[in-house]
Symmetry: C2
């Protein structure tokens, strides 16, 4: 059975929402996976009791050290070996769990996954972040949503490969359409790095549909949206802002379309940020996650691990590098 390690004290609303999210996840998943909560043992166990969990699918591993949201990532790795965050990834490296989830210090989670699990492509300075985003036709995958900046063209190409595997094996889209985010459709448009990535993508083993514009992202013209982590982060945060603006303006619109929109656009349903290009499944949940967001992140981690998505991405990238 697949086990997922969860950083019990990670996130703005931890440990309550994390423990509750874990309980909700196992209770609604028919025994498909188990959860290992890493955090100060007595407190985590007290929370499990408080929330009435008596099952066997949640274990607790003692991780007494706490990580602050603003601690320097490499410092955390060096000095907080017994924190929930680092211990999750450590258990995964030992093969005791198959995925790690944290809503805590995202830089530290990124660094832990990178240093402990390792990367599948030497081109990735950091593992790119994949995110699920809604569009007018359904859902697509955004890569990179914020891990990297100032990427070289071959890194953008690798984002496309990783995102393509992600969309296919996670969203079930066969031969997903890969679009390069740019300021016009023509090959010769945009920053030099993007123009060069265009040329690499023409010959890459993905279904490259060319440049797409911001409008196309929303209208769902591509299944995989490829861009730098800088632009991807701006894009993802605009999604958040638009949803907030919409909710502020209209509230929750009580029609089938309104409910569907709400469901699709609520960040709590997207499962957080998936670290692609790692030798294993690592997920950074939103810092302000509530129990619903944690539950969803756990389920995404399960699906990722169960479908061997990291291994498949590794193989795809290795094919390019070979």
């Amino acid at each position: 059975m697949i086990s997922i390690a969860l950083d019990a004290f990670g996130g703005d609303n931890a440990p309550d929402v994390v423990v509750q999210g874990a309980i909700n996840a196992v209770n609604s998943s028919e025994g498909k996976f188990a959860i290992v909560l890493c955090g100060p043992e007595a407190e985590v166990k007290a929370k499990l009791q408080e929330f009435g969990y008596e099952g066997k699918l949640i274990q607790v591993v003692d991780a007494p050290e706490l990580v602050a949201m603003d601690e320097h990532p490499t410092e955390v790795l060096r000095k907080k070996q017994h924190s929930g965050l680092v211990m999750c990834v450590g258990l995964q490296k030992k093969g005791l769990v198959q995925a790690s989830v944290s809503a805590g210090n995202s830089g530290a989670m990124m660094a832990s996954c990178l240093m402990i699990l390792g990367r599948t492509s030497e081109d990735f300075a950091r593992p790119p972040i994949g995110c699920i985003i809604p569009n007018a036709k359904g859902r697509s995958v955004l890569v990179d949503a914020g891990a990297n900046v100032d990427e070289k063209p071959n890194v953008l190409r690798d984002f496309a490969l990783a995102g393509s595997v992600f969309a296919e094996s996670y969203l079930g889209i066969k031969d997903p359409k890969v679009g390069l985010l740019n300021m016009g459709e023509e090959e010769k448009k945009g920053p030099v790095s993007v123009q060069e990535a265009y040329q690499l993508l023409k010959n890459a083993p993905v279904n490259f549909i060319g440049n797409i514009e911001g409008r196309d992202v929303l209208l769902g013209e591509a299944d995989v949206v490829v861009c730098s982590g800088y632009v991807g982060n701006v894009l993802l945060k605009m999604y958040e802002g638009f949803f907030e603006l919409h909710t502020k303006t209209f509230g929750v619109i009580d029609t089938p379309a309104g409910k569907q929109f709400n469901e699709a656009w609520d960040y709590r349903n997207t499962g957080g940020a998936l670290l692609l290009g790692l030798k294993g499944t690592g997920i950074i949940a939103h810092g302000r996650s509530d129990a619903k967001a944690i539950e969803q992140a756990i389920k995404v981690a399960y699906t990722f691990a169960a479908n061997n998505v990291p291994e498949k991405i590794g193989k795809k990238l290795a094919g390019i590098e070979a």
Copy 2:
């Protein structure tokens, strides 16, 4: 009286919507400005007659040559001296009109304005595009919405100066808050060029509030959003996509909030792309403009020219360079 030159055969729906937009603009502006329609004279006059205009506020100047949407900008400048697009800007250079508007070939309009009117800062390879964008609190200014790519930090700084004058003199926002679009709030986040621009902006004569994220743009945390033309174009097109997705999902919501949202988000009300950093007022209206969008672009051009916005931007930039 201020006169505005209008490219009669520019845009997907020209000349009908252009001529109609011009008529609507003068009819609803109490004689504040006159319009000079540049295009094949007989055809433009026939359209004016067809649409029932008999006033004296619209003149026609014969410009027999037509410019295709995909013609190369410098070719247009060289070979199409008698096109509406080039003649508009030529009349402006001669002082016969105070602003030019075209919904035609945007690259050619950009090049004509740049070569014929000239730039107010040598740092601008191309005049940055300023756009009005809606947010949860009202409106803000985006610079650059797509003219430049791969900008140096001092160019981003100059975008901030130009945008600040734009927001103050056009939107009437005193001491507008200038935000640098980035992937985090910290100074050391994001691409190197953005980090360097941050340092320049700390000492620039604008109300710099630091980095802003995509979410902040929608929530209206800044009055002036500064970013590269590449990112700005993605952002602007995402706005279009959001609005289309929203309209597709919900239609026009028939409440005061819904109407206000529609009014604010409809690109036809924004007046198009303003070329900042030129010695004069040049506006690129959306290629798919209808009469309402053209009317609005004319009114924006009037307000820009009447408030001497280009001169004020020139002075602000000269202060930095001196």
